[in-house]
């Protein structure tokens, strides 16, 4: 992993996943031991499109390890708005820093950046394509809550068509013999290419239109946001927007170990009355993002 960019979940092997998770666990257990790990290192966070949550998570990870941060939070304030190419921006910033975290609306931009940069790139989202650190933090969270990653029953709810996180998760879970349940409106069903992938790999899955059918059997419920702009017909959105809302009352009789995850931000797909339920884990999941990113950055910099 040393000096290697993390652009796509396909860049890491099962061993790499496990190593990152072990390291994240170590950072979580003994945070005080690592406050100087990144002393003297400069990490650039280049956000060509804004994503406050992701940027703060990365910056928190760097700060907790004692590193310094340079960068921008959206491209309007940078030289990009003056027409500089991505190549030139990356090449220049790679002279100033030891590692670049970037988010960019164009798909494949992070791979391109990794080819022109003199320092490793961590992809913090390239359009609808990849967001590998989100996937790793999801894996870490599932392992943490269930004590294992093998043989979990995972229910994915919401926008399964455009939801980048659910697609990555399906592919990364390949090594851990999961079974999946997909609950979504007809218009936002899991795309065929991913269903073909699961069939090919002999991973069982089932599609549902009703959340109540699968709540009781799930170990993990992974909820994603259903966005109005994804619907060609606004009436269709109005019809389904409340059909997939998770409420506290629905969690009775679910497995004691069930945990509810969400990549955040949430709109209304998880009712606020769920927040106080012990099974709600999405804010803790956000904290895990910091530990996971600490693990990724320090591995790439060869410090752990």
């Amino acid at each position: 992993m040393k000096n290697k960019s993390l652009v796509s979940i396909h860049d890491y092997s099962k061993t790499d996943y496990l190593r990152i998770m072990d390291l994240a666990e170590e950072f979580e257990r003994n945070p005080r031991n690592y406050g100087n790990l990144l002393t003297g290192k400069v990490v650039a966070t280049l956000f060509f499109e804004p994503s406050t949550r992701t940027r703060l998570s990365f910056e928190s990870a760097v700060q907790r390890l004692g590193g310094r941060i340079i960068g921008f939070a959206d491209s309007s304030s940078s030289s990009v708005s003056k027409g500089e190419t991505l190549k030139d921006t990356i090449k220049t910033v790679s002279q100033y820093s030891d590692l670049i975290v970037m988010r960019h609306p164009i798909e494949g931009s992070a791979r391109w950046a990794s080819e022109v940069s003199d320092v490793p790139i961590v992809n913090a989202g390239d359009g609808a394509n990849q967001h590998p650190t989100q996937c790793l933090l999801d894996l870490y969270t599932m392992k943490q809550t269930q004590g294992k990653l093998d043989n979990l029953i995972i229910t994915m709810v919401g926008d399964l068509k455009y939801g980048r996180t659910v697609h990555s998760l399906i592919q990364a879970m390949l090594y851990f013999s999961p079974s999946f349940h997909f609950v979504s409106p007809e218009e936002l069903k899991m795309p065929n290419e991913y269903k073909m992938f699961l069939k090919e790999k002999k991973i069982p899955f089932k599609e549902h239109h009703d959340l109540s059918e699968v709540l009781k059997i799930s170990d993990i419920i992974y909820v994603t946001r259903v966005q109005r702009e994804r619907f060609s017909d606004p009436i269709e959105y109005e019809k389904v927007k409340n059909a997939f809302v998770l409420k506290n009352s629905m969690l009775e009789d679910t497995k004691p170990g069930l945990k509810i995850l969400h990549p955040l931000p949430r709109v209304n797909e998880i009712n606020e009355d769920v927040d106080t339920n012990k099974k709600a884990y999405y804010f803790r999941q956000a904290l895990n993002g910091v530990y996971t990113r600490m693990a990724i950055i320090s591995s790439i910099l060869g410090l752990k």
Binding site: S8, H10, T85, L86, K87, P105, I106, E107, G108, S109, R111, W112, D126, G127, A128, N129, Q130, E193
Partner: protein, 154 residues
């Protein structure tokens, strides 16, 4: 004029070089551009819209005094999968080859994803060939699929 002579007149024989036959007529100009024939200085004969039982209309290219490598020739496999390559020495065919779809492709075609970096900045396309029969390409940048029906010259 005798029939035999007529045939010879269509495309004259070459003494030494490479003949690429069975190019679908609609792909002929793409093939010329992929092989960058316009940059070559040797004598080149190009035949267009010849009758072909197999292809309907075909194109043929005869390049004198030049022996193209199989690697270069494989680049045309996307547009002329049935092309036949004849190596000519002293007016005789001494070698017959077919083209093969390579494992990876750089440049030549566009990624069909409009949001891909290769369609937004000056970046050469790179694909992994994931299916050779109905040629299917996976973009190394955006990871999206481009299939045969959507091949467009870069």
């Amino acid at each position: 004029m005798e029939k035999k002579n007529l045939k010879e007149l269509k495309v004259s024989a070459i003494k030494e070089g490479t003949v690429i036959d069975h190019i679908p007529a609609r792909s002929l100009f793409k093939v010329i551009s992929i092989l960058e024939l316009q940059k070559m200085e040797t004598q080149i004969t190009i035949g267009y819209n010849f009758e072909s039982k197999k292809l309907g209309q075909k194109g043929i290219i005869k390049i004198s005094d030049k022996f193209l490598s199989q690697k270069d020739l494989n680049k045309i496999a996307l547009f002329a999968p049935e092309a036949k390559i004849n190596i000519i020495r002293n007016y005789k065919v001494i070698e017959k080859n077919v083209v093969q779809v390579p494992d990876s492709i750089e440049g030549i075609v566009k990624c069909m994803n409009p949001k891909c970096i290769t369609n937004n900045e000056d970046v050469k396309t790179k694909f992994t060939v994931i299916e050779k029969k109905n040629v299917t390409l996976k973009c190394k940048y955006c990871e999206k699929i481009t299939d045969q029906e959507h091949f467009e010259m870069k």
